[in-house]
């Protein structure tokens, strides 16, 4: 059993438990957030693979694709759900900025550790700033969509 397999199993378990805990009382909101982040995630993954910015040496479907599956199917979407769950209610601009920056840094740091200690990622032309900026944009799109969607959802 390789390290990568083990890491992925743990990530699946953590993600599922997290999702189960935080969906209580807000099932539909959690699910639509999860699904929308999933869509943003595969588009993002497609772009970074297309432009050869990263490689995924260890991946679930070796023949079918060069892209990783679990990370973008469940792990990052779970982070998206957490982002919406703890989104600050009062509009303190500085606090909001830090909130966005925190989440946009968490993913690159996580990715960086995976590349460092496992074969799940391999950076070819990777740029920290671009990754953080891309994450900021993704979180902003996510927030805009969810706030719009929520208007049509019975609380």
């Amino acid at each position: 059993m390789s390290v990568e397999f083990f890491v992925l199993v743990i990530l699946w378990v953590i993600s599922i438990i997290t999702l189960l805990i935080i969906s209580k009382g807000r099932t539909r909101l959690t699910q639509i957030t999860f699904l929308f982040t999933q869509a943003l995630a595969w588009i993002f993954e497609f772009i970074i693979t297309f432009f050869k910015l990263v490689e995924f040496p260890y991946r679930e479907f070796k023949v079918a694709t060069e892209m990783s599956f679990s990370l973008y199917y469940i792990v990052f979407p779970t982070v998206g759900v957490l982002f919406i769950l703890y989104y600050p209610k009062q509009l303190n601009k500085l606090k909001l900025l830090f909130y966005y920056l925190f989440f946009s840094m968490v993913i690159p740091i996580f990715t960086f550790s995976l590349e460092r200690y496992s074969k799940l990622f391999h950076f070819i032309n990777w740029n920290w700033t671009v990754h953080v900026l891309a994450d900021l944009l993704i979180f902003y799109i996510l927030k805009t969509f969810i706030f719009w969607f929520q208007k049509g959802l019975k609380s």
């Binding site: 539909r28 929308f36 869509a39 694709t65 199917y73 049509g152 959802l153």
Partner: protein
């Protein structure tokens, strides 16, 4: 550009047209639920059938696609989801037999187009795959997606835009 890509562009164009003509703006949230939930099924399923070597997509929209992803993203994340949205939004108010007929006719039409493309073009090639597998998997996907949508819809309320 070869014939296959023109067909693909044509299908995408028709699908975009369908979005604007067949999906009413006031049902946008329902459409989003249908669109997004289907990827939960088609993403792993699409990868799995290609991984097993059952289906191949020799010609894709972008030229080098097969070097980094051999599943059909156009089909899984765009065409099929839009087809599924229209399927559920226009689901007739009928009893079980009527529903079965609707499922079979809808999925059957979809299967016919795929089989036609398989026979005449290089957009899709079946290896261990047959037309009835397409029919069955399309029906199962539509069924799961429709059930999820019916459950989700219970908490959706009507609002402006």
């Amino acid at each position: 550009m070869n014939l296959e890509r023109w067909i693909l562009v044509g299908v995408i164009f028709v699908t975009i047209l369908a979005i604007f003509t067949l999906i009413p703006r006031k049902r946008a949230r329902e459409a989003w639920v249908l669109l997004l939930f289907l990827q939960v099924i088609t993403w792993p399923a699409g990868l799995f059938v290609v991984e097993m070597g059952w289906i191949e997509y020799p010609i894709q929209l972008l030229k080098r696609t097969n070097q980094y992803n051999r599943t059909s993203l156009t089909f899984e994340f765009f065409i099929f989801p839009i087809v599924a949205i229209i399927f559920s939004l226009y689901f007739p108010n009928v009893k079980r037999l009527g529903a079965i007929i609707y499922y079979v006719c809808y999925a059957g039409f979809f299967t016919c187009i795929e089989v036609l493309l398989e026979r005449t073009t290089r957009l899709v090639e079946y290896h261990e795959w047959t037309w009835y597998w397409t029919l069955i998997t399309v029906i199962i996907s539509l069924f799961l997606n429709h059930k999820y949508y019916l459950w989700y819809k219970k908490k959706l309320i009507k609002v402006k835009a």
